[in-house]
Subunit: 478 residues, 4 copies
């Protein structure tokens, strides 16, 4: 769950609360539970019925918000947003929610996903005189809403969403309503929950969150997923659902099950913990090997490793200890310590590894550089054999739907054979899970239907005019 | 020059640098020299020819910018902005420069003044689908530029400025040019200076600043004021001037001479120090009285007091000492100390005041609360008589041109006779400078022609659709 | 490894480096690896041969030290210290190292443990005119060294250590030497390691650390434990060992194996990971029960749970997910969420727990309040039965040797029967590991001999004049 | 009053409060008023009758103390201390108050001055086994008190103070008493004041402060100076005075009148403002010259310049404007701006200086580097002639009594003739005030008797074993 320079990064997490006297506090707790989806910046907007308040800043949720800040976010409606961490170029300018004043009134909006036609829309809007203050794809959405000819806000929002192509799980608020929408393919998760009305309150609190793990902390009960193509409107009149677009073939991001989502979440109809154990079991079936112990690369590889161990009957051991105090930058001695960066995060347990044949379980290989260091470190700790097993297929294509992937030339599996990767990494054997095995473990066809473009290069949208391929129009910093 | 809750507040200071390898560093030093014009937030935008970088934050210039931040503002073009301090409601959201991306390319802009038709323009723009992200009047300017049908940027800027009514001293930058403009009445000051080209450099550096005091620190020579209605364009082709509007009757803010501008600045064609001494001399002529010593309320009343003393022959004494370490909030004992707030800033010198007939010189009375405390404190220190003299006429009307004034019902002189004010304040006598005396001291008709609306209620613009009377559309905080 | 208000707290971790050009950087990395032993404050002292530099502050190691700070800690000798976290009363005043100037020259010292006769010594010293500037027991050590009549520093240190009763693992430095010592019963761990000399360097680097996990990150190899009663002197003349006191019966803290030490450390001659798995296996043998899954309370209960699962054949599941972003204070909604505090740290995985008979494994019960909440939370998540198993015996007596325990009246096991505890906690069954089982798992008699006073009330020292029972002489804050 | 690298620096200011429910708040306000005496660090100790609380830190008083911190300093007794700013070597380690626990109970102490026999005492104490934790001369005082054989604390303090040689104005507190003492020559000021008991309170509040300006802000009335050689004890039994030593010839620091003390203070029996005006008048008499204007170097030269102008009849003008926002470090452009450092603080008013014969008044020349820059800047601004007048004699010897002076080889007047200084500085003429003139202006023989060692090299103490000549035993940083 921690920041790793050689891991894929989720772009965002979103929260929305309707009808609770402490809406911004609940949003803040929900964002904390969704912290793994974005550690760069966070923000909350709230409404007391007459105006929309906002606070956003760089940093972790628990550092940004305190009692003082939350007091300045009054009202019983709130939305919130976490943004992923990059190396420093991005900025509070692009932090969300985005809040604007327009002919539809005041609107605030938070977005998880990526719009593949944002550049097209932006160019068109700029030509007609619109100005843009951020470099985020999300800013086009508020322009579209402002310029829609539709008379009511739900209609204007529907109209706008229909024009968007790509991945979006959106929460939108006005002074007195909350809107939640998911693109017609359902790329990113978005769940709805309920906090039953306390004594005296007339109406239940309605909440939305990227993942259901955000519900537990605030005492909400999971109700259902927002459906692909659905727009849910929550207001004084109650909860109403409409579909802004015809549903397309569902293509939910399978990597949410493999890596992104918290294991205690239920997404796309299935528990993540259950999926991950199934991935490990399947991996043991497909790529079994004789060995003494099964060792996960913590934290993300742990559940798959448990599944592998259970299926194979080979004992599970915590042969690598994760140091949870790791921050972003650490001073390295000039007299270099081998594999220093990895050692900061992981420490091998020599007494467990020494002389052993080790099956090492991880959830992905991006550039291969980190895997190479881990394997070397495990070998230095005395392991006799190291068999690396990956709980998904080789990653060969970048994602355009909200995951921050390196370009294709940096994805090792796009450029090397599996044996070449094994050699580079220095493992005695290397195996990936099959695509079919992955899909089955995640309930393809039963629970959901998945986008597997990163493993196949087959993209569910027609074009992939990539927002972030365009050189950032300006490194604007506030 | 320090923050005083019972003083008028200037809204802003602006800087621009064209053609210097350390443009952002010069902008930062200039903003520091203009710190008295705004202590709430500051920002700098710079261009390296291909993109516009920006950094803005709450706080003082010297706290916001350091070597690290300035390194991230490269290029030989920069503009900067200081914003005034309010009690906490305003925010980094409204900090400037404003930077946008539009069909004219990237533009950054900084504004000193207030647009009286901003709400009209904003409503019209919103109706046609524009979105607004700040509550600042300045945001309409970038919208107008983006929507102008003119083909060139200078034409589009001229076109836009023609649509604005009110006070504006503006600096604008693109990737490769700087623009400086002043409204057609010349409300706020804006000066141009030159740093002669160093060895090897082909072109002189051109700088613009709200006040000429910003030139000294960066080694620039004062050239001239930007003229009312003038737009100066500085680019690779040199310095070009055009007039975007017919010049109207000049109505420069006379209060810049009385209080706002730094005494070492030359504005509207006259040294501020010289004006202030003349105010004091004139006051002595108009409102002389027998006394033992002339004592200024520091710092702003000092020069007028010197003039008063010189004219009257009554000795000048520093009977009140200013504490320059005063910050924004101080903890007061619960067992209240009388006039605690004033004592934090000013301390009477008993040995000078005891048994004396004191002429106290100040530059304005806003609500009267602070003057009342000062008079009481001076009396507690033993003064036998206290004769308060104010170096301008009674302030009876709010300003709509960039000065932050309380509403009319809070201006004591709008609601009480001079003798009632005297009684409230507790002085033995009270006199204000006459309007004619004020104008003459500031060179009316000779050096400049002035707006004196705050003393007369006669406003030079036709309507005063006051931006800041409208309840802030949202207390948005970033 | 994270801060938990209902867990015992280790008091400190210590580091020492002799003979490395980046001594302070290595000390800092070592302290980071020992962060779990104390999160309140940290400090490093270093020597360049002519003076001793020092930096200490409240906070985590990675927040206190940066390149700038480390540059101001030059030289090839360094010692470091981590201090445990309390609720706010303790302070930087008591942070270590302690550095003094005395007739033996400049000395800096860092201490893990607790001296049971510190108050006695302090009273005697005060009577003879000594002054004390901290409330820490450690300050008496430097007084004793300064007042020793012995001629050489090793002799003076030996003389002083002989007068101390209780637990101490000490590192001491002068301008040109490092000393490491352990009390004669060997309560706390202290290990020695070697970094082989790099090309050109004449001498190996000698390092000392509370736990061997600190060696891995700095590329050091574990050599051996400092022995009970041993004083090791490292200087230009090499490494020399002496015994300052006759060795008493070893009484190493068995709770280091149960909870404190990092699983990747080897202490008292045995791998912590190995001990913990053995604890779990033994627990399964002693307190087996029919169930569906074994679930650890993470992070500390994980390894014991793996051992329990392996021994019992019941599947291991991560039914509780730990949130690693948890900070010290969180804002709770006024409309209380049940078990909010526990939910911030732990989230149950409903899909795994629902309808299951769960064996929950934890490493200790202090007051019982947290266990009660965890059990309730697991039950709320649908568990059918909950059988709590603790990997050590009931804690009935406070520790006086360096562990921060609540007083006896707050230890639930000192005041209730096991069945009463079970009832309070709300588990269906509750069992603790036997004392014999604990000792055997930790290698009693084979690897080491242990202090088990917290389980038996039988203390290895004659008297337990408890330093921290005395009301703190002053809540002094710097 | 601001930090100037080419000015002498006062070492400290002290405060004490006895008998006020908000003692620490009053101490904090008093320290704020004494901020000019030390800007590096500040601290307050308070007692609630049973324990002594303390908080000290680097920085300005208003930054260190807030409501939260003051709440943690309860009780009706408090002492406080400001420490001067150095370039970075000194540290919070040496911040005061010093608080210790010893056989006389808990004691806290704050000191202004410098002990010339501190090294002697420290060596002797170290030989007998004492340990020192700071590099400050003040630490010996608490050791002496702890080791005194006297039975009562007043006796022990008297006994200790008798052993000290040099300058000390001390405030000391125990749990229930405040002590104030001044060395037998009365080098540094120390005043006593009274806050009359509020309704219901039985006893007046007694306060001590380095300067009387600290009384005004807290509503205290000046009573009298603590006398040279006097120890005042304030406790439940009332206020008692005793003399711990025979009074020696008074030798109060005359430079307190010239520069250090605030103009609104009354020290050594005379108002500082009055002394400074007299200095200026005397200077005009001794070193008159024909000129157009008298211009002070602000802020410290202002009052002397007013006196000079009044005496000479030459008009006073603020030809140099001080920028009060100046912080410690500013980024300078690489293309150097001439006299940049001085320009940050002072800006010449060209309109006043141009073509004028200027008499420039300053209060001292240390190294001459700043004076040289100021003269050049004034000349660059168009002055025709510049006549520099200094309101005291040439500084030729360092101070050993609490003022931070550069060594003799860096004092320009110790190494150059007045005409050589004039040449170096670039003035048209240069004159200093005579020693007799200085003494007379400050009331020598009438109000007080002064130490003028810095002008004469004749030191009132027998030896000057300078504490700060000894190389700092360690650059210890906390």
């Amino acid at each position: 769950m921690f920041i790793d320079s050689d891991k894929f990064r989720e772009e965002c997490g979103v929260m929305a609360i309707y009808g609770h006297p402490e809406a911004s506090t609940l949003a803040y707790l929900g964002l904390h539970a969704l912290q793994h989806r974005g550690q760069e910046s966070a923000g909350i907007a709230s409404s007391d019925g007459s105006t929309i308040f906002m606070h956003k800043s760089m940093g972790l949720v628990m550092d940004i918000f305190n009692e003082d800040v939350l007091t300045r976010l009054p009202g019983n409606i709130a939305i919130g947003h976490n943004r992923y961490s990059t190396t420093g170029d991005s900025a509070v300018l692009n932090a969300q929610p985005i809040r604007v004043d327009c002919n539809k009134g005041m609107i605030a909006l938070a977005h998880n996903g990526n719009l593949v036609n944002a550049n097209d829309i932006r160019s068109r809007l700029e030509r007609s005189g619109s100005i843009f203050q951020t470099t985020s794809d999300t800013e086009v959405v508020v322009h579209l809403i402002a310029q829609s000819k539709e008379q009511t806000l739900p209609d204007a929002i529907s109209d706008s969403l229909r024009r968007l192509e790509g991945a979006f799980s959106l929460v939108i608020m006005t002074r007195d309503r909350v809107f939640a929408a998911r693109d017609s393919r359902g790329f990113r998760p978005l769940s709805m929950g309920i906090i039953p009305a306390a004594n005296g309150a007339k109406q239940d609190t309605v909440v939305f969150a990227s993942e259901s793990c955000a519900f537990d902390l605030i005492g909400a009960k999971f109700q259902r997923d927002v459906k692909p193509g659905e727009l849910i409107v929550v207001g004084p009149e109650g909860v109403h659902s409409r579909f802004f677009a015809e549903t397309k073939k569902q293509s939910s991001c399978i990597f949410e099950h493999v890596y992104f989502s918290r294991p205690d979440s239920e997404i796309f109809g299935q528990s993540v913990q259950v999926s991950r154990e199934a991935l490990g079991r399947q991996l043991a079936k497909e790529a079994g090997i004789e060995a003494d112990i099964v060792v996960p690369v913590p934290d993300s590889g742990v559940t798959a490793a448990l599944g592998y161990a259970a299926e194979s009957g080979i004992p599970f051991r915590f042969g690598l200890i994760r140091n949870h105090y790791v921050g972003r930058t650490f001073i390295e001695p000039e007299q270099r310590v081998r594999d220093f960066g990895v050692k900061l995060k992981l420490n091998p347990v020599r007494s467990l590894l020494e002389g052993k044949r080790v099956i090492l379980i991880d959830d992905s290989i991006v550039r291969g550089t980190t895997s190479r260091k881990i394997v070397r470190m495990v070998r230095d700790a005395g392991a006799k054999e190291i068999h690396l097993r990956i709980s998904c297929p080789p990653t060969v294509s970048p994602c355009f739907y909200g995951v921050n992937t390196p370009s294709k030339d940096q994805l090792i599996a796009a450029n090397k054979s599996i044996d070449e990767i094994r050699q580079y990494i220095g493992a005695d054997s290397l195996a990936y899970l099959s695509l079919d095995g992955l899909k089955e473990a995640c309930g393809e066809g039963v629970k959901a239907s998945y986008c597997t473009a990163c493993y196949t290069g087959i993209y569910p949208t027609e074009f992939v005019d990539v927002h972030d391929i365009k050189p950032a129009p300006a490194e604007v910093k506030i």
